[in-house]
Symmetry: C2
Subunit: 219 residues, 2 copies
């Protein structure tokens, strides 16, 4: 499989296809037509075919797709058919929410350790884990072969958390802190853009209101 | 200001510029050069100039940008210079984390009411709010002029939550549930793609590992 030529937009859409297939799966569907799948994804059959073609040949002519086998194929393509071991940095409400979210475990992302710089939080239990000092991070990452760091600190502490994770030789970081951080090129980095989503929404609502007002004025 | 021709990618980048400007602001900077700004945004000065030009003329020749006035201009452009009143649907850990996140209020997104379908949760206090029944939603949205609904239910309850919000005449929805939902065209809808971010990261880590292995084999 030649990973490197796959566009990022395809990867993003694959995640949508997977989500939609999970819905079909929950509803007990074994087969979906390519029209059904496209409609549920707000896409079109040609786009889906093109995206999937990067990873293999999945459609069944005249039928569509077999839900479970396509789900598995997409999971393999995205490298989420196994377990990713994660460490959480930031023992606040958001960290707790992620740790308590069963959807993470269901998708193979296992949070195995929690760290916080605040000495008052050390030893506090969050679900089944006790909050640890960042001084233990390197040891734990090595011992438990942790691959991913998740930053859930306030924005002003995110860079320090990232530095700790980079020093501990983590392979990739997902950060929820609403700020930009710097990591060396060899560490993968992804931002969860909570606020960007809210900004897009507020922009879109305002735009619609403005258009509605203009239409009314034109009457 | 002509909103409608502004590309979505520009809106997304404006949110990044704003985040980076908040960092400069926290560090006490009053002016940033266009090179500094571009570097911090992992962009280039021409792209930033082009994006900002949709909204007005902001640079100071030979100097760069005035941090506070550019922040305000971007907030106006994104319609986030005021307050957006929000209702939360789903009184779980994630809902609690959003409600307790001061960054939301700082950015003008005020969560004013919490709803949940689970009768066991009704009346429970989450910070300063009591969990209410969805049967109260229409009344509360009207009375408090709530514009945005935030869905933090499990995926199998997200569509029902969306239906309640649509019936209550909400203007826009941000959903954190990892599933696709359907709303009428007149309601704005944005997904926070928690898992898509994790999938992109796992794909990227795997790709790097594969490339490293191939290089080693080629030696």
């Amino acid at each position: 499989m030649k990973h490197r030529r796959i566009p990022k937009a395809t990867i993003d859409r694959m995640a949508v296809y997977l989500e939609v297939l999970e819905n079909f799966s929950r509803d007990g569907a074994e087969l979906v037509s390519s029209d059904q799948l496209a409609k549920a994804c707000k896409s079109n059959p040609a786009q889906i075919r093109k995206d999937l073609a990067y990873f293999g040949d999945f459609g069944i002519r005249g039928v569509g797709y077999a839900v479970e086998s396509l789900k598995l194929a997409i999971k393999r393509a995205l490298s989420i058919d196994g377990v990713w071991r994660c460490a959480l940095f930031g023992a606040g409400n958001l960290g707790r929410a992620l740790l308590g979210n069963r959807e993470f475990v269901r998708r193979g992302f296992h949070i195995q350790a929690v760290f916080d710089c605040d000495p008052d939080k050390l030893g506090l239990r969050m679900f089944h884990l006790a909050v640890q000092s960042p001084s233990r991070l390197g040891h734990i990452v090595k011992e438990q072969d942790i691959q991913i760091g998740i930053i859930t600190t306030p924005p002003n502490r995110a860079q320090r958390a990232a530095n700790h994770l980079v020093e501990a030789d983590i392979k990739g970081i997902v950060t929820f802190a609403p700020t930009r951080i710097n990591v060396p090129d060899e560490v993968s980095l992804q931002y969860v853009d909570l606020f960007r989503t809210f900004y897009s929404l507020s922009f879109d609502i305002s735009l619609r209101e403005q258009e509605a007002a203009e239409e009314q004025n034109a009457d």
